[in-house]
């Protein structure tokens, strides 16, 4: 449950979300991009393969991350989104803000 964070050699921070992507991971998620090692990453990749549920709190967390990188859509990639997660992102038209794969 929760998140796991890894930094690659080429400055890409990979955040893996497992289980429910909701308010319960709020603090962890914020720490994932504000720590000394992860603060100035070249790119943030969020692996949603294990995310079975995403709600508006999660959308809010993504917006905070987006604010952190200065609203540059190319710096954030949402990977392996399930159909259910894609639906939520689609309704909110978040594909206009993030690179969703």
């Amino acid at each position: 449950m929760g998140l796991s964070v890894g930094v690659s050699d080429d400055g890409v921070v990979r955040i893996v979300v497992r289980g429910r992507f909701d308010f319960s991971v709020h603090r962890e998620f914020r720490q994932a991009y504000t720590s000394n090692e992860t603060r100035s990453a070249k790119r943030y990749v969020i692996d949603m393969a294990g995310a079975e549920y995403i709600d508006s709190a999660a959308l809010g967390m993504l917006l905070l991350l987006r604010d952190h990188v200065g609203a540059d859509a190319s710096k954030i990639r949402l990977m392996n989104c399930s159909a259910a997660v894609r639906d939520v992102l689609q309704v909110s038209n978040f594909d206009r803000l993030f690179d969703i794969r």
Partner: protein
């Protein structure tokens, strides 16, 4: 916090004086303060008086034994944990069980080993520390719970005040809301515009309770104020978006559907930003159209002009449009299955009486989710058609303007067609009149006159649109899109508007002239048939005729002049 090994106040109860002496000596050496009692009754009295941190209790004593005394002492403790260690030579299981049942926490067998006694005291101290910490946390929690309750009450109060201001005097829509817990954070607002349209808003602000209420305040303020002043939905959306982006933290946003029912009840404009598919259900053909979310929710980023188009739906026949928050389709039954869009459409189709739409859907939802836990707030808004809308006349409403002495003034302005792309002129002109002269109670009528004359000048004069285009199914939608595209493309042309106000007794006379640079038209047919005349936009020029004391077309029909009389004392003529 009681640190381990810290000195304690210990009550020793034993009917044998020698035992008391031995134990007292042992414990005083450890640094503890000792209180002694020689029988059960004395133990209880001394306990009440001294409130020791721990009790060493002999079992076999005359009159009241250790078990009885312990039971009484434990009762005096309430939720405070004061350990009681039995001093006993008895080692049989029955005695041990009796001791534990009486409230005893441990045993110390005679003869007393000093090391064992010390270890047991430390163990009891650990448990006591835990108990104290737990009680402190519980008290803190109770305090925060109370604070949270107060904040919820405040949020509830704010929401009630906000929805109280909604326009309820209309029968063309039904709304229904059910909270997941204390009150719903979903927002359903309605407001009547000066020209008789009804603006509707259904939305879901991120967060619950107070955080949702914080967003709801600017949202409702802007919605009501701008609707009342006749601003278009597009302008309201832009202003609200700006305000929310400015005010709210980056992770908060407002998913919403805006809609506007035209004054004649024939068409509904829809704008969906982040809400589930709006269902347009035509009862005649039994078809359901879905209008999905096409925009980012409000409060995230600026909308560009491409985002501002509305979807227009014809609701003049037996059509119902259903808006709802995601709590509705995501509500689950006991098996965890969501209610879903399919079941929602089914419930809509199954109900022939459109006035029962909200009831039918909520009943279907209740049946489906019976027994299951509510996961989110649920809200829905059902909008009907022509027959539903009560044709309300103009209201004589006292505005917020202070009465001014009728005075002479005039204003004239000319706008190039290209500038007219950027804003809606009628609310600006009407609000100008209200700000300058404030003819109390006449705002709606003046706004209607200005809007009618301007729309005709723009749409017929400059854009070359004919009212006949609005006829037929989807006529409004076609007309609207054509209007938008022609306005976006227009290169030349202009509209001049002039206002001349003359004081007249207790009121005044406002002459409005609107001239467009278009080719004009043959105005004769206009005046021969005014009954039910929807030749021109909105309520038709017939309404302007009824509201104004004079109405004439000048030049080759591209200039219109209307005179509106108002008075502080006399009732308006329409």
């Amino acid at each position: 916090m009681v640190p381990l090994g810290a000195p304690m106040k210990i009550l020793i109860v034993d009917d044998e004086p020698t035992n008391l002496v031995v134990l007292t000596a042992l414990l005083v050496k450890e640094g503890h303060a000792i209180i002694a009692a020689t029988n059960g009754q004395e133990a209880i009295e001394k306990f009440k008086m001294e409130r020791p941190d721990m009790v060493l209790m002999d079992v076999l004593m005359p009159d009241m034994d250790g078990y009885e005394a312990t039971a009484s002492i434990k009762e005096l403790c309430h939720d405070d944990f004061v350990p009681v260690i039995f001093l006993t030579a008895l080692s049989d299981e029955q005695s041990l069980i009796k001791g534990l049942d009486a409230g005893g926490d441990d045993f110390l067998a005679k003869p007393y080993s000093r090391a064992t006694l010390r270890a047991k005291i430390r163990a009891m101290q650990r448990i006591r520390s835990l108990n104290i910490a737990l009680r402190e946390q519980r008290d803190e929690l109770a305090h925060y719970h109370r604070k949270t309750q107060e904040e919820l009450e405040l949020a509830k109060h704010v929401f009630a005040a906000i929805t109280r201001n909604s326009y309820h005097d209309v029968s063309c829509f039904q709304s229904w809301s059910e909270a997941q817990s204390h009150f719903s954070g979903d927002l359903i607002l309605s407001a009547r515009t000066p020209t008789g349209d009804v603006n509707l808003l259904i939305g879901d602000c991120t967060g619950h309770g107070l955080s949702a209420a914080v967003g709801a305040i600017p949202i409702s303020d802007i919605f009501y104020a701008m609707s009342k002043k006749g601003f278009s939905i597009g302008e309201i959306i832009q202003e609200m978006n700006r305000k929310l982006a400015d005010l709210m933290p980056k992770d908060m946003f407002f998913a919403a559907c805006f809609a506007s029912v035209s004054a004649d009840g024939c068409s509904l404009s829809i704008w969906n930003a982040g809400m589930p598919d709006v269902l347009v259900f035509d009862r005649e053909c039994k078809t359901a159209q879905r209008i999905g979310s096409a925009h980012l929710p409000l409060g995230i980023q600026k909308y560009d002009w491409r985002d501002m188009g509305m979807q227009i739906v014809d609701i003049s026949s037996n059509t119902t449009v259903l808006f709802y928050t995601d709590g509705l389709v995501e509500a689950t039954n006991e098996a965890g299955e969501p209610f879903g869009l399919a079941r929602l459409e089914q419930a809509l189709c199954a109900e022939p009486d459109r006035e029962r739409t909200a009831d039918a859907v909520t009943q279907a939802l209740r049946q489906f989710t019976a027994g299951a836990r509510r996961r989110d707030d649920v809200s829905l808004l059902a909008v009907g058609g022509k027959e539903w809308c009560a044709t309300s006349g103009f209201s004589y409403v006292h505005g917020e303007h202070t009465t001014r002495m009728p005075a002479a003034w005039r204003m004239e302005a000319t706008f190039s067609a290209q500038s007219l792309r950027n804003f809606e002129l009628p609310p600006i002109v009407s609000n100008f009149v209200m700000d300058v002269q404030a003819p109390e109670g006449h705002a709606d009528r003046i706004c209607t006159v200005v809007t009618e004359l301007y729309s005709n000048a723009l749409e017929h004069g400059l854009l070359g649109l004919a009212s006949a285009m609005k006829d037929g199914p989807h006529g409004f939608a076609r007309y609207y899109h054509l209007r938008e595209s022609r306005l976006a493309d227009i290169k030349d042309g202009s509209i001049r508007i002039s206002l001349v106000h003359r004081p007249l007794g207790e009121g005044g006379e406002l002459e409005i002239v609107v001239a467009d640079s278009g080719p004009g038209f043959d105005t004769r047919p206009l005046f021969t048939d005014l009954a039910g005349n929807s030749q021109l936009s909105g309520r038709g020029i017939g309404v302007v005729r009824a509201l104004c004391s004079e109405l004439e077309y000048l030049g080759n029909g591209n200039t219109v002049r209307a005179v509106y009389h108002w008075s502080n004392t006399a009732q308006p003529r329409y």
